[in-house]
Symmetry: C2
Subunit: 140 residues, 2 copies
Amino acid sequence: MSTHSHDIEEGLSFQPKFDAAGLVTCVATDAATGDVLMVAHMNDEALRKTIATGEAWYFSRSRNALWRKGETSGQTQHVVEMRTDCDQDAVWLRVEQLGAACHTGRRSCFYRRVEAEGTGARLVFVDADRLFDPSAVYKK
Amino acid sequence: MSTHSHDIEEGLSFQPKFDAAGLVTCVATDAATGDVLMVAHMNDEALRKTIATGEAWYFSRSRNALWRKGETSGQTQHVVEMRTDCDQDAVWLRVEQLGAACHTGRRSCFYRRVEAEGTGARLVFVDADRLFDPSAVYKK
């Protein structure tokens, strides 16, 4: 292992490894249940704001904009713990999620199970109740 | 919302949205504890093999190769449940992890907490005991 890799994997310096678009992948899980709520991305500024404020900030690739989770919907995420992985290209947030994490109104974005069917797969809804009505929350 | 988006978010057809490199992001969590074990990537073949076999397969970006989790280390992942998210560009695996998920020998790749320090951040080891010796497992 190179000195650099050893430092990244075993060191105590936070050196996030951003991809070509300047982003790291972020997984948010429910601190109470361990369920994965969402997978999103953070740029350097989102990381800094999340660390400084204890509330989750992300970078939206579709809107090309920094985004405080819940700024429109009110469904904020309070960060209980942030971790990074061995090569520092991903971040795990354990959060207290107010209401629903998903823009569809569900608690988690992962509301469909993937099941084998023949040689392919099909989806099955699971934990898919809506906690809010997206058409009322995200008004044009 | 377009008909296409509605179908992706509310439909029962599995239509993974691969990125420019042909990959989706995959989060593996410990089915027993909810801890995030690792964040990795799958191409179409890795997805198909995972669904068909019930064992986790990934695509290694660094080695540019399909990879059955544990094929070298023996630390395999049995898939308890697979889910996909609203826009189908990420997959969540709940797994029974044999031994350690991380190539450093730790149970999880997320063995360091990110803590605020001044205007920056520092890392703190947490749950960082090694379950195997990587130099013995990954022989050249």
